[in-house]
Assembly symmetry: C2
Homo-oligomer: 502 residues x 2
């Protein structure tokens, strides 16, 4: 077994979207950067999450849209072709081949170490290569942990080889009967997708609603739509037993009585696959965090510079799911840009007078990073109150910033503005019987939007207007001048402002 | 013939979307308002423009979207059903029945005078009712002209009974062969719609491109797409003769030689209908403007309060197409809100101390209106540099604010950022071979977005994010924190910021 010792300015653990972005930006002032990844470069999102799930969901979206338009509906005579959907999904997931991503990474001047890294001391790691090599790797300046997260699989399911999001998004077989355990983004999206593909789907939710992180009306709309398409959505349940029997899985489901006084109801459910989508936890088990005084398995707590708060010396950073601070690819990439810029500036190796136009030389960028205010390029301010989330269910659900509940918990005086999208001219030409709803949470004192929630077909790309309003802190009095075009669905902004009496 | 004399605080000429909004808002401080309208309440947009044209276009959009998604495409075996499309269009146009609009207007406490108004003196009008009555109507405070615009039909077509947008959007017959004269919004939308419905369409454009008001790449994309669908798009043409012969119209089309040296080419074209969409002019012919010292037929020039600049006394306002300042329903409604608020405040009839919470009493609102700054509710500031336009062609085209050319003509130092939408992860799951492009024009000195153009399938509702950014004057450094969700098409914002090196 060969042993090699390497030194880099920066070592990034994890070559998902987050790690790639950290590495790219950290290297911009000339720092040498290595990225350590035992699996596919490109990460969960490209191969087992966002991308393949969207490929599974899109066919149902476009057929539903066509069926809702008189004059087009009659042209849709067939159904979704699951085999063709899976072929397309394979393409979208690049056939789980990371050649293209590796080429990008190397083209960007970054070093890829294919292996698993463990800390042995501050800024020192051992990397066990997938090729059997063992390297001692030292980071002269900084280490960034971007190893992401792994699904949580409750013990009940330990022996039934359940699906997680990975198996579900990469399956080549559509199970005739699928149980989905969970009610969050993964659960609702994949319940929708497999119902489209022809599975008989049962969603088993512990809590009282779907999409518990969103405004209540969002999860209610998704539950209603799933039910209308023949999906059983069982709220207030827990799976007390799961047994695999050949190709089948037998579940015992306890359900709190809806009558509220007869105790629990027990239901036996036999399915072909169980998708466990009950949450994820930071992938920090095997990183040797104990050598740094941190506890393996815990999230790496960070400040707004993405610097790990539990370790001294200003050399350890974390970004993405591993921080427990964000849970989406896009927000992880945002954090990645911030931490990449912080590192590029703080450890800028160029002579003090040198620099890029508009960015300052080493002295200037170091100073700028050290003194940065919120909303600067060196602070992940949006993580606090402007995180967007899009759920590609049907209807779609999209929100940004604070929900009504969150704003109240933060002690803010808020006004809630809501409008049913179906009342818009634009909705009536989009689909017969278009249903949707948009809600804004407004900070009364500052006259700005704190949060926005969109529910309806094809609302995903309506969200960004709200995100710009929240992040830009654009007062409602100014938003009044942002005229939505008629007859788009964006006209809802006008209705919401009218509802505010402005 | 009965003669009646009426007095109102405010008289609004025209009960389209603009007139309705003016009247509604002007009446809010208690002013009495009459609206004069000879035709349908609700206006051009509801019955003969935005709404029916969208009803004609939507079926083609949804079928194209479904055909572009593997796994869904095979389910689309049929074609558009023109009869069903026209039935739906009839519903969307409320069967050209304004009962609902009239009920709204009367419910809002406004007086509807069904007739034609002409000025006889400042603030004095004669209204010839559709029922034969003649009323003398006096406006104690203000008159607002919101009579809209009418199509321009060049003399060449005087004897062939051409279609204008009215006949095209309300037709119950799909012509086998249709010539569309013009290259703007109406021409490109209706060429798309009738090609969908099965017409053999020829578009005859005087200039060198479609959608001349937009960035050049927009019209090029639409021309390419129309051509791909079998529409003939002939640029650099003029129709020198048009003769109706029974059910047919024979056109002689002169076309500037593309070789550039052989002079014009002449083509004879026989069609079943000719749609003339060469522009519109203000509907000011028969308003008696000459009694006010203005020229009938001219646009009514207004300032940012929508006050007509050519008439003294602060009593004459105009809003919408009639001003020549805006040409869309949404921007006309924006102007309507401003002028309505100006009138409500300036002529507030309530006792000086009285008022609504947060709006101040008469004294306060009068003062606020008089001293209003740009971007206040009393100034139509967005008309100057933040007007949005959406064209529902396929691909759709949407823009707001300044084009690159306009910004340069305004003497601004700009940076142009562009990105091909097809390169996004979100595009690859939206449609196979998704093509589109987004371009931002950025003010280098102020680091803000001056204009944005979106071209691609379903980009209509992506525009509003840009409109909020332009109107909110949100710096690019802040937009960096407005994270687009992955994998939406809005991710283009991230790519554009990366292109800017930010």
């Amino acid at each position: 077994m060969a042993e090699v010792t390497d030194e880099y300015d920066v070592v990034v653990l994890g070559a998902g979207a987050v790690g790639e972005n950290v590495a790219d930006r950290a290297s911009r002032t000339g720092l040498s950067v290595a990225v350590v990844e035992p699996a596919l470069v490109g990460g969960e999102c490209s191969y087992w999450a966002c991308m393949p799930s969207k490929a599974l969901l899109r066919p149902g979206d476009v057929l539903a849209a066509a069926r809702a338009v008189p004059g087009a509906a009659a042209a849709v005579t067939g159904r979704i072709d699951p085999a063709a959907v899976l072929v397309r999904r394979d393409e979208v997931a690049a056939h789980w081949d990371d050649t293209g991503q590796v080429a990008w990474l190397e083209g960007a001047g970054l070093t890829l170490l294919r292996g698993r890294a463990r800390f042995t001391a501050p800024r020192a790691l051992v990397v066990e290569g997938v090729d059997g090599t063992v390297r001692t790797v030292t980071a002269r300046r900084a280490v960034v942990v971007a190893t992401g997260s792994v699904p949580v699989v409750p013990g009940t399911f330990a022996d039934v080889r359940p699906w997680t999001s990975r198996e579900a998004t990469s399956t080549h077989r559509v199970p005739p009967r699928l149980a989905v355990v969970g009610g969050g983004v993964v659960a609702t999206e994949l319940a929708t997708a497999f119902a489209d593909l022809g599975s008989e789907v049962t969603v088993l939710v512990r809590g009282g609603r779907l999409l518990a992180a969103a405004e209540p009306f969002a999860g209610e709309a998704v539950a209603r739509a799933l039910t209308d398409r023949g999906v059983r959505v069982l709220l207030g349940t827990s799976v007390t037993s799961a047994v695999r029997d050949g190709d089948e899985v037998r579940l015992v489901v306890e359900r709190r009585s809806t009558a509220g006084r007869h105790g629990d109801e027990t239901e036996r459910l036999t399915v072909d696959e169980v998708l466990v989508a009950t949450g994820r936890r930071p992938a920090t088990d095997d990183l040797g965090l104990e050598t740094l005084g941190l506890r393996p398995g815990d999230a790496l707590e960070v400040d707004d510079r993405l610097q790990v708060t539990g370790v001294d010396g200003g050399w350890l950073f974390a970004a993405g799911d591993v921080t427990g601070r964000t849970a989406t690819t896009h927000q992880g990439k945002y954090d990645a840009r911030v931490v990449g810029d912080v590192i590029a500036a703080r450890f800028d190796p160029r002579p003090a007078a040198e620099g890029q136009p508009g960015r300052g030389g080493r002295g200037l960028s170091r100073q700028a990073e050290a003194q940065a205010a919120p909303w600067s390029r060196y602070r992940a301010t949006a993580d606090v109150a402007a995180v967007p989330q899009v759920v590609f269910t049907r209807p779609q659900v999209a929100w940004v910033g604070r929900t009504h509940d969150q704003a109240q918990r933060d002690g803010l005086e808020v006004e809630v503005l809501a409008y049913e999208l179906g009342g818009l001219g634009g909705a009536s030409v989009t689909a017969e019987g278009y249903e949707g709803r948009v809600q804004l949470v407004v900070d009364v004192a500052r006259d700005v939007v704190l949060g926005a929630t969109f529910v309806g077909p094809d609302v995903a790309d309506m969200l960004h207007a709200a995100t710009v309003a929240v992040v830009g802190e654009v007062p409602l009095s100014r938003l009044w001048h942002a005229v939505p075009s008629y007859p788009t669905l964006s006209e809802v902004w006008l209705r919401l402002l009218e509802a505010a009496g402005r």
